[in-house]
Symmetry: C2
Subunit: 334 residues, 2 copies
Amino acid sequence: MPELRKDPIIGRWIIISTERAKRPSDFISPQRVTGSAACPFCNGNEWMTPPEIFAFRNENSIKDKEGWRVRVVPNKFPALRVEGNLDKKGIGIYDRMNGIGAHEVIIETPQHEVSISALTNKNIEEIILAYMYRMRDLKQDKRLNYGMLFKNVGISAGASLEHSHSQLIALPTVPKIAKEEMDGAKYFFDYRGRCIICDMVAQEREDGSRIIFETENFIAFAPYASRFPFETWIIPVFHQSHFEKMEERYAYELGKILKTVLTKLEKSLEDPPYNYMIHTAPFNYNDLEYYHWHIEIIPRMTRVAGFEWGTDFYINPVPPEDASAFLREIETDS
Amino acid sequence: MPELRKDPIIGRWIIISTERAKRPSDFISPQRVTGSAACPFCNGNEWMTPPEIFAFRNENSIKDKEGWRVRVVPNKFPALRVEGNLDKKGIGIYDRMNGIGAHEVIIETPQHEVSISALTNKNIEEIILAYMYRMRDLKQDKRLNYGMLFKNVGISAGASLEHSHSQLIALPTVPKIAKEEMDGAKYFFDYRGRCIICDMVAQEREDGSRIIFETENFIAFAPYASRFPFETWIIPVFHQSHFEKMEERYAYELGKILKTVLTKLEKSLEDPPYNYMIHTAPFNYNDLEYYHWHIEIIPRMTRVAGFEWGTDFYINPVPPEDASAFLREIETDS
C-alpha cells in the first residue's frame, strides 16, 4: 500500500510509492521512452493495459477491444490505490495516511500519434469530455478531495510512453498548490469583491501585450509572472471554479484553442518537452465566486536548479511579452 | 535591468532576466557542460571571471591572480544586478520591482575537480567559511532580505560548468519557501513552545531508522517526507536560525559531514546529478526561537512531471528508511 506523508514544516505532501520501489542501481541507467513497438496504448494492444474504465467507442465495438476513439484505463503502475481506507495517523510530529486515490491514463487516440496537436478537433473534443466525465465520476467517492489532470510530453518532462496520453490522479487531500490558489484568490475576493482570475483576464485583454490567441469563450496568454520561457495559460472568459462543471458545448472550443496553442509551441520550439495541468477547485467545495479553473502549459526548455528548489523563485530569460509576440505570429490552420 | 514580478494568486516571485534574453532557437540545441578546456574557474584563468570579491589566498599572492584556495566572484551572467533602486510598483493587479540583488559564484578549488567530495576537509572548511563571510557581508545591504546558497552538480541539476562551485543569490524579498518555513515553524512554536526542527532531530535520533550519519554537532538523515529518492538533510543539533551566525569553529565539522554524505551519495548512485541548498532565516529577522537553518541535498534521479508541477505533491519510489539503510552502509574514509 502506498503511503502519504506530510512535511511537518510547510505542509507539503508526498507519496511513498512502494509499488514502484527501486534499488539505487535502478536509477543509474538513463530513462527511455517506449516507442511504437509494443506500445500498450495502440489499437489492438488493449490486452496490455488494465481493463478500461471508460471509452468513446464506435458503434458495436466491444470493451477492451479495438474500435475506441479515446480510452481511459487505470495506470499499470499506479502511484495510489483505489481500495482501502485512509487510516490517518500521527507519528510524533509527523502525519501519514494510506495512499488511497485513483491514477488513470487517458489514451487520446488509437493510432500511434505522439502529439495531441496532430489529432482532429473532434478527437480533442472527446478527450476534453473524457477528462470531465472521469472527474465527475471520481468526485462521487467521498474519500477523494482533489483531481489533477495533467499531461507529460518528452523525457525531460517526465513522459515514459510517447503515444499521446494524459493522466488523472485523484487525491484524498487538497494539494498544497490548490490550497494556496484557493487562499490567495479568496483573500483577493474578500478585499476587492471580484474573482482575481476574471480580473486577470480583463487586464490582459485591455493590455494585449501578452495575449497569444483568443476564441469566443477562451483566452490564451503568457502570464505576467511566467516561471518558464513560453509558459502559456488558457482560461475560460466565463467564470467557473470547477473544470468538470463546464457545459459540454464548450469542449470543442476548448480543444480547439488547446490544439492551436500547442501547435504554436511545437512549431516555434521544435517539439519541446512540455507539461500541462488543469488547475481547478477541490471536489468538496461548492461553486466558488473567487476561484476560476484554467490550464497551465509549461514548455520545459530550462533546467530547474538549486536556486529554484530552495526558494520557489524562478529565473525566466524570456519576458512573457516577447514570448507572446513570437507565438502570436506563428501560423496555424485554425 | 532584470525585473522581479509577483504571481498575483499565490505570491510566487519570478525574475525576468533580460540580460540573458534568448530567442526561441537558443533553446533548441541541448545544453552542454563546459569541461576543463578553457574553464574560467581554473587556476591561471582568473582573468576570465569578473574581479574577485573575496578569496582565501596563499601569503603574498595577488588579487585576481593565482595563489587562491577558495575564490568568490560575481556571476558573469547575473540573474540580478547590485546597482540601482528597487522602484516597487503596481500595474493593475500585478506587482513588480527592479531586479536588485547579488549573484556570486564560490569557486571551491583552483584545480579542475568536478566533485566537492574530492577536496580535503580543510578546503571544505574554507568553502563553508566563505559562504558565511559572503552572507554576513551581503546582509549589510539594507535593500537585501534573503541569501540563498546553493550548488548545482550535473546537467540535469542545472549546472553549466563542471568545475566544483556553489552560488549565492541575495534577494530583495523573502522567497515563498522561506516564508512558508518561517510561518510553519512559527505556528508550531506558538502551539508547542518548541522549535519544530529541534523536535525533528530529537524524534529522528530516538527512532534511528532514517539517520545516515552523525557527528558531535551535526546529524544527517533522510527526511520523513522526502520528495526525492535519497534526499538527505544535514542539521546542526544546536539551535540556530541563521546559518551565517554559526560559530566559525563548527565550519570544519560541517564540511566533514557534508563530504561524508556526498561521498555516500556519489558511491551508491554513481555520481548522480544533485542540488543542495542552505535553508536559513531572512537577513532582517533577529535570532528566532522557532526556526533552525539546515542543508537540503536532493539527488536528481527522478523527473519532475505535470503532477508535481500542478500540485507540489511528490511521488517518491524509495522510502526514506530504505534509502537511509542503504546509505548508512556505504563506507567512507571519515
